[in-house]
């Protein structure tokens, strides 16, 4: 009896398996190439998840309007299938399985955040499905030996490292040794911020600088006054903070309230943490890293220059007053797919993987060339400073639109 039931189950499984494998060709349906992505539309990453989705959609629309993707002499339109991963890694991994197994998607776009990417990458790797991601910056994503994971953005250890070289430069200008520079830092205890920290520590070591405060902020961070009291007592030359939006908001609020007067303050997520809007003049002189800025001079044939992208996106999505870099890099990921399809001239995932690995292109977002590990090594991070309530690019010098103001003169 038991074996009979087993037989029935096997038969059922076989039928189901057949039915499921049938849409294996769903990767290309008629004239459409289907890309898949699990993205955070609800939960704690919902706003940046939506930013990324809008970036994907905007690029897809643009490419389709410009004639689509040409493979084998025929023109195909792009389409993206989305599922909401609710900002939870487990759900993300499940949905990646579903996209690949059930929906037959063969070409993936990344989710939002390093954590989700970390959860999904093993799945795409298992099925040998290439994934071009735009929102997972953690260094640790590119040390696992993944073959099918490619990221268009700069890795997180580069976020604030340039502020340390800036500090060294300023010290020299003032006739001091870079080794005399004292650094206070506070980083959230999560993969992203710890990477940012690693980059800062490496650079600080290179110059022989002293780290006088090295606090790790908790995940549910809403108070860092104790850390800032230390900063006030020790009077460092540089204060570096990273803890996503909550870190930026908390730091900005308490730096203002406690009148922390450090000549150089660098923190991540100034823009998405809305520090200028919330804390006004007290944020003058903050250094904020960004993956992309509309003032950069990169360009491509789809969007034109970075400034053109900025304008066109705002016209298509009037809700946006500024275009977040999360959106720009999502669009760039779609451009990588288009370019790879055309160079591979095939729908075969292996050929596509190799084509993506050989990518070498300039986009409005920056140059894209992947290292063996899959991260983009052709695009530097940009450092901007808040000057008179606006973000001005100050480093690297090639794109600097304004000189660095040092020491920062904060209006409290």
């Amino acid at each position: 009896m038991a074996s009979f039931r087993n037989l029935k189950l096997t038969a059922l499984a076989a039928v189901l398996g057949f039915a499921l494998s049938a849409p294996g060709h769903a990767k290309v349906e008629g004239e459409e190439i289907i890309l898949g992505s699990a993205i955070s539309l609800t939960g704690k990453y919902s706003s940046n998840g939506l930013n990324a989705k809008n970036g994907y959609d905007f690029a897809v629309k643009r490419i389709n309007e410009m004639g689509g993707v040409k493979v084998g002499g025929k023109s195909y339109k792009l389409k993206v299938v989305y599922y909401d991963d609710e900002s939870t890694p487990a759900r993300g991994a499940q949905l990646a399985e579903r996209l690949i197994q059930q929906d037959g998607v063969k070409y993936m776009l990344g989710p939002y955040s390093s954590g989700l990417t970390k959860a999904i990458a093993p799945v795409t790797e298992k099925y040998k499905i290439p994934m071009v991601e735009a929102e997972g910056a953690s260094r640790s994503l590119f040390t696992q030996g993944y073959r099918y994971l490619f990221a268009v953005l700069s890795t997180s250890e580069q976020y604030l490292a340039s502020s340390i070289s800036l500090a060294a430069e300023m010290a020299k200008k003032e006739g001091k040794k870079p080794a005399d520079v004292r650094i206070a830092m506070a980083f959230e205890n999560d993969p992203f911020s710890l990477d940012v920290r690693a980059g800062v520590v490496d650079d600080a070591k290179k110059y022989g600088m002293q780290i006088v405060v090295d606090d790790k902020l908790p995940r549910d961070l809403s108070d860092m006054s104790a850390t800032l009291t230390k900063v006030k007592a020790l009077k460092p030359d540089v204060l570096v903070v990273s803890g996503h939006e909550k870190g930026a908001t908390t730091a900005a609020r308490q730096i203002k309230e406690m009148q922390i007067d450090v000549p150089m303050i660098a923190l991540t997520h100034c823009e998405s943490g809305k520090v200028i809007e919330q804390f006004g003049k007290s944020t003058e002189g903050f250094l904020c890293p960004t993956q992309w800025s509309e003032t950069l001079t990169y360009k491509d044939k789809y969007f034109g220059s970075a400034a053109d992208y900025d304008k066109a996106f705002k016209a298509a999505y009037p809700d946006y007053k500024t275009v977040p870099y999360q959106t720009a890099q999502a669009s760039a990921a779609v451009l990588v797919w288009k370019d790879a399809f055309e160079r591979a001239n095939s729908f075969d995932t292996e050929k596509l993987r190799d084509a993506i690995a050989a990518t070498q292109m300039e986009t409005f977002y920056g140059n894209i060339k992947f290292a063996k590990e899959g991260n983009n090594v052709a695009k530097p991070m940009v450092l901007r400073q808040i000057q008179s309530g606006e973000y001005k690019v100050v480093a690297p010098t090639k794109w600097a639109s304004s000189p660095l103001v040092y020491p920062r003169n904060a209006g409290m």
């Binding site: 609800t42 990453y45 706003s47 606090d215 809403s222 230390k230 609020r253």
Partner: protein, 300 residues
């Protein structure tokens, strides 16, 4: 760690900063914890959604600030709205689980916490927000100690609110009814007290107190839909340390926790600031256990 301790020794004035910050934030802890003690003591419901009520109060204040109403002026309005919200929650959820065992009410309030956090996330978005008071910061001792005026004002407001609640509990008919119900619900019913109404009122009052605490938190810290849980934990630590029905104890424990967080953040680093809260809870439970074991031996 030793560096930080010696720093305190070299610049004793830093202690003033830490104590002041502990005092200011402790005051808001006291408010939320007192509400929890009230509900716990009167209804024997351990309200796991405590922190989410706090955050909701904060969001109402931030929203009203966006419409141009200063959060401090909005405080009475938040109290009224949160009172109504608490009443609704009692009627919809709590009244159905109040007679059940401990786990049912724990589960219900835990579910309530999740629903509230997710709903706030849907309505207000996941961004970290703060209410701006527009007030200045005063500095003392050569700028080594700074006091944001809003922190001092929030301490004052917390004191005023606590006093009002205490007087209400002592003098008013409803306050007496609440205390009677806490002592013996059956006897209270026999005496003609509508205990169901008392429960509803108690829960709504707790919600209002939490809302007020939330307004103050949004003015001096930052809020986010998922920050509720940390405030819940703090309230539980304080009430566990003080015991419910013990208002001076709650006040002492609240300020004590404020100081402990500030000092551990300074000496051990920010990563231990919240760990301290939990470590203290464990310590308190161990001490209580030993005390009670001794007590049991004496009784035996």
């Amino acid at each position: 760690m030793l560096d930080n301790l010696s720093l305190l020794g070299q610049a004793p004035v830093l202690n003033i900063q830490l104590l002041l910050d502990g005092l200011f934030i402790g005051a808001t802890f006291v408010l939320a914890a007192y509400g929890l003690a009230l509900v716990w003591g009167v209804m024997n419901v351990k309200n796991l959604a405590q922190g989410d009520f706090v955050i909701l109060g904060g969001y109402i204040a931030v929203t009203m600030a966006e419409w141009g109403l200063h959060p401090i002026l909005g405080l009475p309005l938040v109290i009224v709205m949160m009172f109504g919200f608490g009443w609704l929650v009692y009627r919809a959820v709590i009244s159905r689980v109040i007679d059940r065992d401990l786990f049912t009410s724990l589960l219900a309030t835990f579910g309530l916490a999740i629903v509230m956090a997710q709903t706030m996330n849907l309505i207000f978005g996941p961004e970290v927000v703060a209410a701006e008071s527009g007030l200045k910061t005063r500095s003392m001792f050569d700028g080594m100690v700074t006091v944001a005026e809003i922190k001092a004002i929030s301490l004052l407001l917390a004191a005023v609110l606590a006093t009002i609640v205490i007087i209400f509990m002592k003098k008013s008919r409803m306050g007496q009814a609440i205390r009677a119900t806490a002592q013996d619900a059956r006897a209270a019913r026999v005496m003609g007290i509508d205990t169901d109404r008392v429960y509803a009122f108690t829960y709504a009052l707790n919600s209002a107190i939490c809302g007020a605490a939330g307004v103050l938190i949004s003015l001096i810290w930052v809020i986010q839909p998922y920050f509720g849980i940390t405030h819940s934990i703090r309230s539980f630590v304080i009430v566990t340390a003080a015991g419910f029905g013990n208002l001076p104890g709650v006040i002492m424990a609240g300020f004590g926790l404020g100081f402990a967080e500030q000092y551990s953040g300074f000496v051990l680093g920010a990563e231990f600031q919240q760990a301290t809260v939990v470590a203290l809870l464990v310590l308190i439970l161990v001490v209580r256990q030993i005390q009670q074991a001794r007590h049991r031996q004496v009784v035996r």
